[in-house]
């Protein structure tokens, strides 16, 4: 029996041993801590960062908590990465204030911090590689107004009400409508946590409650896919506008189920973080903000190589 216990213990050790990647001490190591890792969007950011890292011969790691609610887990990740004394750090804060003590520590150790995506609400990061979400959501609002004839009822399905991107995209859309398209009425703003199934249910409920609805805006990939499913299950026809990309969304746009979407440049964001970090290490001056850009895409330009390069499956 004891033997079995010992064997089990050895197995654990072996399993752990197998999982370790040996790193060379002289390499430039830059950990990136994102807001998630499971979504296609983050995988695209990771890809961009990895490609850039290979180009510049640096080593990176990419981590993020399982859900965007897990602020404390992200802090633990940042803490563990700092313990490795990296040359620089890339960080997309879930909650800037919670991260300040650790960022101050990084600053004290002269580790450059590069913010990305929703950024970090502080002076510590040398630069921020991000999409201007407010401006991007405003473009989505303009397109929506145009497609429904500048009047009628519209609803929003947003991923959450606490994150920077959720707030910016929601407010960017709402404010643009209010300012430029007064005849468009926003009848509902609902939150589905970026979960496709929840967003589907929300969409169906919105359609049930608002039979005259002319359009829905889904504020991230999970939300828009939920909206598409909800609309399909309700057997209705209306203008659907999305955000980000992903195979399902691209196909919906090609088939006409979705009018179009805003794409950020996730690969560009990833590349920007690594590039900025390397520049910072060389002592180059960095701009306060790098807009990695966004684009409107629809059936007409989805296959355009310039757009296609920004989309991920």
């Amino acid at each position: 029996m004891l033997n079995r216990t010992q064997i089990s213990t050895l197995l654990v050790a072996a399993a752990l041993g197998g999982a370790i990647t040996v790193s060379r001490a002289d390499e430039t190591y830059i950990p990136l801590i994102s807001k998630g890792f499971q979504h296609q969007f983050w995988q695209a950011v990771k890809l961009g960062a990895e490609q850039e890292a290979q180009k510049l011969s640096v080593k990176i790691s990419f981590e993020g908590p399982e859900t965007e609610a897990m602020v404390d887990k992200q802090i633990d990740m940042l803490s563990a990465d700092l313990a490795k004394h990296p040359k620089a750090i890339g960080f997309a804060a879930l909650d800037s204030k919670a991260a300040i003590p650790l960022l101050k520590k990084a600053q004290a150790e002269h580790i450059p911090v590069i913010a990305f995506d929703s950024g970090v609400d502080s002076d510590i990061p040398l630069t921020t590689c991000a999409t201007d979400n407010i401006a991007a959501a405003a473009v989505a609002a303009d397109k929506m107004a145009e497609l429904i004839g500048d009047s009628g009822e519209v609803a929003l399905v947003v991923h959450d009400q606490t994150s920077r991107t959720g707030i910016d995209r929601r407010d960017g859309f709402l404010n643009e409508m209010k300012a430029k398209h007064p005849k468009v009425k926003i009848v509902s703003v609902q939150y589905g946590g970026g979960d496709q199934l929840k967003s589907t249910e929300i969409t169906k409920a919105i359609l049930e409650a608002n039979p005259n609805l002319k359009g829905i805006f889904g504020a991230n990939e999970g939300s828009i896919i939920g909206v598409l499913h909800g609309v399909k299950e309700s057997k209705k026809k209306l203008v659907v506008i999305g955000y980000d990309s992903g195979k399902e969304q691209i196909e919906a746009i090609k088939s006409g189920d979705e009018a179009g979407a805003i794409t950020q440049n996730p690969i560009g964001i990833g590349a920007c973080v690594v590039e900025s970090a390397v520049k910072a290490l060389k002592g180059d001056k960095l701009p306060k903000k790098v807009d990695t850009g966004f684009y409107w895409y629809d059936k007409s330009n989805v296959s355009d190589p310039k757009i296609a390069a920004l989309l991920y499956n």
Partner: protein
């Protein structure tokens, strides 16, 4: 352990004594085993990466254990009664939010916020306990319901956004300050860890030295027997859930103070981590046995594992797999050990 009739009384007493020695021995051995696993893990990570054994990183591990450790203590009580509490994670969040309401929204003094968090936890525990004891709902269902109620209330009360404690200067010291560091500057152990240990010692004393602890084990061992002994089973059961809830209130304070904000969307999933820590620590899900010390060791095993894998830059997807495998192995080894008894 049956004895033939011809055995002398002395022999039978000896059997009883041996059995007792075995049981206590096994409890000691079990803690020793869990503790040994923890040490093995730490030595392993220490050799694998020089960054792991740095004081800073070890302090980071301590701090990241505080919240899960406190939640696991709360779960230990309920699990020993052969119950389960799925609401601890979101209750922690709701308690944090209530502290935020008192301190930030209403600008009341610090102690009211502390009281509000603990009272909120106790109230929720009172509801869960009443559902279990009086309405005879299975604990799984009652606390599943309360998990969602607390989650929803946290979002409603906070207005869907974090509440920041920027106005109450001292709030962050609850978790981030260091009383130990004040005395021993070279060892700035955060207060959250101090609170975890103090709470663990108190909980341990309650379990082993008070009537409440006695009934906690007794209920998990044979609830009907306790009832037939004339004990007011319902009242004690509710008390246990109230206590567990109040401990979740402490966890709420710790996490809010650490993040300097009450994050209303946080919390779900934390109950499973707490249960994992309890089970790794040798507490049986079927009730009747368990120790706080085991639970604390279990919580440390979890966070050492998470931190160590991170330090080794193991890809995140594999970290999750390894954690799952470790939980299964830890409980399996515990079962092997019990079978030996």
């Amino acid at each position: 352990m049956a004895e033939p009739k011809t055995a002398t009384i002395e022999a039978e007493e000896r059997v009883a004594t041996t059995f007792r020695a075995q049981v206590f021995g096994s409890i000691a051995r079990q803690k020793l085993f869990a503790f040994a696993s923890l040490i093995v893990l730490m030595v392993f990570f220490g050799f694998a990466s020089p960054a792991f054994m740095q004081v800073e990183n070890l302090l980071g591990i301590l701090q990241s254990t505080a919240v899960n450790g406190v939640l696991a203590i709360a779960s230990t009580f309920v699990i020993i009664t052969a119950g389960i509490d799925l609401s601890v994670g979101t209750l922690m969040t709701f308690c944090a939010v209530m502290a935020g309401v008192f301190l930030t929204n209403w600008q009341l003094p610090l102690w009211t916020g502390v009281l509000a968090a603990i009272a909120t936890g106790a109230m929720s525990g009172l509801l869960s306990g009443t559902f279990v004891a009086k309405l005879k709902l299975p604990p799984f269902i009652a606390t599943l319901g309360m998990m969602l109620v607390n989650k929803g209330l946290a979002l409603v009360v906070a207005g869907d956004k974090p509440i920041y404690f920027s106005d109450s200067e001292n709030f962050s010291t609850i978790s981030q300050g260091s009383m130990i560091g004040y005395v021993l500057p070279s060892l700035p152990v955060p207060n959250s860890v101090l609170i975890l240990f103090v709470l663990a010692i108190a909980a341990s004393a309650v379990l082993s030295r008070t009537a409440l602890g006695r009934y906690t084990f007794a209920l998990g061992s044979n609830e009907e027997a306790v009832r037939l002994s004339g004990v007011n089973v319902d009242r004690w059961k509710i008390t246990i859930y109230v206590l567990a809830g109040a401990i979740c209130g402490v966890a709420g304070l710790l996490i809010a103070s650490r993040l300097n904000s009450a994050q209303p969307a946080l919390g779900q999933g934390y109950e499973l981590e707490a249960i994992a820590a309890v089970v790794i620590g040798g507490t049986s899900l079927s009730g009747g046995t368990g120790t706080v010390l085991g639970t604390i060791i279990g919580a440390f095993i979890m966070s050492v594992l998470t931190n160590g894998l991170r330090i080794l830059s193991v890809p995140q997807e594999w970290q999750i797999v390894v954690t799952g495998v470790i939980i299964i192995l830890a409980v399996y080894i515990d079962i092997l050990r019990r079978r030996k008894l």
